[in-house]
Amino acid sequence: MNTGAATIADRSNGAAGRPHGENYLNCASGWRSWLFTLDHKRIGVMYLAAILFSFFLGGIFALLVRTELISPGHTIMDADSYNRAFTLHGAIMTFLFIIPGIPAALGNFVLPLLLGAKDVALPRLNLASFHIYAIGAVMAVAAILLGGVDTGWTFYTPYSTTTSGQVVMVTLAVFVLGFSSIFTGINFIVTIHKMRPAGMGWFRMPLMLWALYATAIIQVLATPVLAITVLLLVAERVLGIGVFDPALGGDPVLFQHFFWFYSHPAVYIMILPAMGVISELISTHSRKTIFGYRAIAYSSIAIAVFSFLVWGHHMFVSGQSPLATVIFSALTFSVSIPSAVKVFNWLATMYKGAIKLETPMVYALSFIFLFGIGGLTGLFLATLATDVHLHDSYFVVAHFHYTMMGGVVIAFLAGIFHWWPKMFGRLFSQKWGNIGAVLVFAGFNLTFFSQFVMGSKGMPRRYYSYPPEFEIYHQLSTYGSYLLAVGLFVAAGVLLHSLLAGRRAPANPWGSATLEWQAASPPSHHNFDGPVILTDPYDYSGLVWDAEEQGFVRTAHEEVVR
């Protein structure tokens, strides 16, 4: 017996005597017990609800935009409303949904459990992060109700400093949401540094933790730059300081540099935790040890580092110097190396594995396919000569959505389905779950592959109207978005049905070896009832199916010996 397991066992005392059936969901009641809870699981669940609501809201705007574009000219709204609709779609999806999505909702829930800990290191900061998120969300929604914004989610100057609308309110909402993101990031770094149990060295951590750690580093290092950028934008609009205003000797391209110094790393804030989720899922649902553990772990850190060095590729046609564009182009290519390392390792993990097409795995497979397309089309955009043609076309929109929606959102859904039994103690219908996943996959490809085609033929992004030869692609894209919406509603229905009528989940329905599955489903208030046994997170040899339990149980566990 090593000291590690003994230490963890000491942590989980006291809860063994809890009443039967009591868990974190029902251990206290009343809205105060939720709104002011310090329990990372409840905070995670509240984040999940808020984030899914934002996803719904952003999705409504997406469907409005797609419906407007089904025919050239006026379809359901005028051009100004259209500008506001795509701006709100982008701003809500980016700042309210996809940035906090995996880290704040799933990460909050699973991070301490993956460590065998009782909570994150700073529970009050965690709650503050959620409250600040809620304030930012309210500000964003208020801005929508007060007239919205039409700048696009990037708020480029000088348009953003001269247009009417609620630019100040929305950018201040972004500022506030940034604080929420920073607090989550600080909390995760501290938790991973200080709360790892004895015996869990850095290279004994599940890869999800590596991914969340890399994400948190970017959150802490990049978000403050966005904060100062939006503050300068507000000062420009309200006070007229002139830093970004060419009429006053300022430089509008400086805004783009500042903005993308945050917002490019931000896409890795989105994708890195998604990659962490996929690393866990592929191994678990193939029942095979992860291939290339260290390569995947290091590639997360490599992506975090590279993410800070490529922002200039957003300004290839903004008058950046030729030398800078060449350097940024080369650096952008280099990001594909750690990304490809991950993809090849996932494929190698599945090779000769016992793959089971459970719903999380169906989403994970669809992630690999879609992220592969999204990543490879990024190379077209990193290449200077092709980017001049493709820049600001639908090709960019499609590339972005293949990585962000096909990548991050699909992984988010995969993670929700994977941890759903742990979060709420209920199993869902695998059949309908898979039907939803297939519909999402088909609808997604129909929506965005047609955008690759029209983009390469020269259809510019954000335009309200277009020549008739693009109509067929826009129609395919719009019908695809409806199919995608149907798929997402099926997925939501499956999860809601499981809450109401799902079978009780066993502690370990998938046969995963990470620590959270040693807790009950759902876990008790203090997470673990008995001693936590520290094992290799990807060693499935000791886990066997137990017909009575209807889940996996550990027979002869091999404790990690350092």
Binding site: K194, P224, G242
Partner: protein, 268 residues
């Protein structure tokens, strides 16, 4: 010092949160979190330092000219005030570690007073700029600047005294930039020749010192809160984390000013 054990308030305030194994782990976690927060502060100001660098590199003449409109002496006094407050803050942390309650409260009070002193001097400076219309962007009053410079030659009391050495240096730099004509302006001989876009300097000046001032204010709120807790007897040899972390924040606020002062006031 008063008996630590006799104070029930103190006894209740140094507990170990349920999710930590040891007090050491708890302290280290809080300290690491504070350092990470300071990293975010550095990066936020880093954006402004970056903007400063870009505009200073592309428009050196603006900075050379405009900084003479700032009051070096008040800036230097403020630097000393903040440095002294950092000293008292560091001493306060030491006092907290040693359990010297009264000394801790006294030192926190002095630090807080220094904060008020800094903001007071800053207010005097801002007021001077405001009255002369030396403001940011579109609000900069060029007409007033010409009057100010014209008056400046005859009445040395209204502004900083001309420095012949700095003047010669500025002339050399500006000659290199083909802005020789503008140099005479610095001391009011020809108000018609002022470098273009002087307001850029003041935009950066007000944003940087303004954001710094907000941080000073935030630090003073923290120190005021620490002082209140200290007077209540919350701190002692086993519970000084809050003082330590508040001190770290105050030192950062000080440190940023140490960079702002030479970059804005001491250009040549």
């Amino acid at each position: 010092m008063a008996s630590v054990a006799a104070n029930p308030r103190y006894e209740g305030k140094h507990h170990l949160a349920h999710h930590f194994d040891t007090r050491r782990q708890q302290f280290d976690s809080h300290k690491l979190a504070m350092w990470l927060f300071l990293v975010t502060e550095v990066l936020m100001f880093g954006g402004l330092f970056c903007a400063y660098t870009i505009y200073r590199a592309s428009h050196p003449e603006i900075f050379l000219f405009a900084h003479t409109l700032l009051d070096k002496n008040l800036g230097a006094v403020n630097t000393i005030v903040l440095l002294f407050s950092s000293f008292t803050m560091a001493w306060a942390v030491r006092a907290a570690m040693l359990g010297e309650r009264r000394r801790l409260s006294a030192l926190l009070a002095i630090t807080l007073l220094c904060g008020f002193g800094f903001l007071g001097i800053k207010a005097v400076e801002y007021n001077h700029k405001w009255q002369h219309g030396f403001l940011w962007g579109q609000h900069f009053a060029y007409a007033e600047l010409q009057d100010y410079l014209a008056g400046h030659g005859t009445d040395a009391a209204t502004g900083p005294a001309p420095d012949p050495a700095a003047d010669a240096h500025a002339a050399a730099v500006m000659a290199e930039l083909d802005l020789a004509a503008a140099v005479t302006v610095a001391h009011g001989h020809d108000p018609a020749l002022i470098p273009r876009n002087v307001h850029i300097f003041f935009g950066i000046y007000f944003v940087m010192t303004g954001l710094h001032g907000i941080h000073v204010l935030a630090g003073m709120i923290v120190i005021g809160w620490l002082l209140r807790r200290s007077l209540r007897g919350d701190f002692g040899t086993r519970n000084y984390t809050a003082v330590d972390l508040g001190g770290l924040y105050w030192h950062l606020v000080d440190l940023i000013w140490i960079f702002l002062f030479p970059l804005l006031y001491l250009i040549h």
